[in-house]
Symmetry: C2
Subunit: 323 residues, 2 copies
């Protein structure tokens, strides 16, 4: 790999901090921008010991970012985002600001400072409720069903247009939900939060039959690094997921088993857990698999690994510093 | 039609002012918001005489828009936009601001004031360089090739997500280039501008073989009104174009013939006229045609009608008031 210097936005977050550690372990120097709204400095404890690491605490939309931070960078990994799909209708401008406008700011900083490679973390939510399942990258033109998906689709459009207009090669990775160490939000977190308060009752949004695909963060990162080394188009788009799904109720079983609990489970009646929830997410991952990538964790292993991490790091259930 | 009151953003513009006249002639009261950046008060001379008409000169991004303007409105036609695809790389935030952020502002005003129908003017540019031509609404997931297309795709995503999250029915019309009375920008305007300075020479961006589809504004509006009355989904998406294309050099022949000129024509060598130019735009219009819509102007008639309008309104070649 010819990359010597990388910049990671959202580098104190779940996926970001795992990426930072991976890059540093490969001898790549890493600069991080993070506003620490959901990121945790604790995740960068090891990185902070490395002389090739530096972090700027700043907000991509509200703050002015110095050009010098982007100078000499070979690749930008733009992972900073509002990653919670559920609350769009309660705050209708947050996804636009944090996912779309922030992406344009980072693209502009990259362009102005001659960064030639740009990696964007997108989401399977951009497919809306596709009629084609598993859903491939070239699925029919989707209709958006959430402000989160819409804001990420907008980010994808910006990334692609920059690649076309300027001398910049780009990667768009459409993730399913990611699990594993440093996971701090999503259904596993929410269920354990509930069970810490009342170990005997679990309330579930939706009827528990939503089918979801979950990928382990280590498998996600190995796919990103492979896609980055293999992609030779202006715009390289890859689905990242696992070839299979589980139902929410399967996941609940694995979580409670790992915790040693047998709570009463109160399911909702809706097929969707919330407005914009997709009752079936299953991405076609042939494109990345054809490069030789294979995930090393099943969904069950990913769920259980996440539970173990949260059991070992209960401080994450305290109120986040900037909340 | 059960619509009694409409709000038209960009109502002083080319398509907007034609729509305003059509709505008023159908007894619908009309409110317009326009920042007059490219819109012209001259286009609303007739509308201004109608007691059912009112206009607010305001910018959708920079100015605060009073909620009262949206109260009691049955349908919002959101036509305000930066409509020029060419200058994206020179001003990388304009499309984002005027097409994406402005759309979210208008959606939010509509939602907050219980407007139940929302019409969005999108563009065939959202298909990028589709491999499927003529391009249908359900073409494969496109890759954006211009900041303009990306910004309109982002607007579409917002419109769809609002329809899903809130009690709002939406229409997305993807236009080819529109021609006809009150046309003020685009290749016909640019060519006549050049020929007014030097009637003997015409410089053309690109090799003149770009294939484009042009629709007359009257046909565009009849399609919008038909789509609006027929669409019964949360999100109704229609291509609006003509079943055929011309080459840029055909259009030049019609323009110069109508002007009675025989200039020397200097073509470029590129298949694209500018970065993000699509050398082949041809939308599949079966979906709107199946509702019984038929355009009443050929491309040649649309071009010539536009030239006649510009010959009769040479004041449009003077510097625009807010330029």
């Amino acid at each position: 790999m010819s990359i010597k210097s990388a910049l990671v936005t959202g580098g104190a977050g779940f996926i970001g901090s795992n990426l930072v550690d991976l890059l540093l372990s490969n001898g790549i120097s890493v600069r991080v921008i993070d506003n620490l709204s959901t990121g945790r400095v604790e995740f960068l404890t090891n990185a902070q010991k490395n002389p090739n690491f530096q972090i700027l605490e700043a907000d991509l939309v509200a703050d002015s970012i110095p050009d010098s931070l982007f100078a000499g960078v070979d690749v930008v990994f733009h992972l900073a985002a509002n990653a919670d799909v559920r609350f769009g209708p309660l705050n209708t401008s947050r996804d636009l600001e944090q996912n779309t406008i922030a992406t344009q700011r980072v693209l502009e900083l990259a362009r102005r400072n001659q960064v030639k490679k740009f990696v964007f973390s997108s989401t399977g939510s951009v497919y809306g409720e596709s009629e084609v399942v598993p859903t491939p990258e070239y699925a029919p033109f989707p209709v958006q069903t959430s402000l989160y998906g819409a804001s990420k689709l907008a980010g994808e459009g910006l990334v692609s247009a920059y690649a076309e207009a300027f001398d910049m090669q780009t990667w768009i990775f459409r993730f399913v939900s990611i699990l594993g160490p440093r996971y701090t939000h999503g259904h596993v977190f929410d269920f354990i939060s509930q069970l810490r308060i009342d170990p005997n009752t679990l309330r579930v949004l939706g009827n528990g039959q939503q089918k979801k695909s979950y990928l382990h963060v280590k498998d996600c990162l190995s796919a990103i690094m492979l896609g980055l080394s293999a992609g030779n188009s202006k715009v390289n788009i890859y689905n990242l997921g696992i070839d299979g799904t589980c139902e929410v109720k399967d996941s609940i079983y694995w979580i409670t088993t790992q915790l040693g609990l047998q709570p009463t489970i109160n399911f909702g009646t809706e097929s969707r857990g919330w407005i914009g929830d997709n009752p079936l997410i299953h991405l076609d991952v042939k494109k990345i698999s054809n490069l030789g990538w294979k995930p090393s964790h099943t969904i069950e292993e990913s769920v259980k690994d996440t539970v173990r991490f949260l059991q070992d790091n209960t401080y994450l259930f305290e109120k986040a510093p900037n909340d």
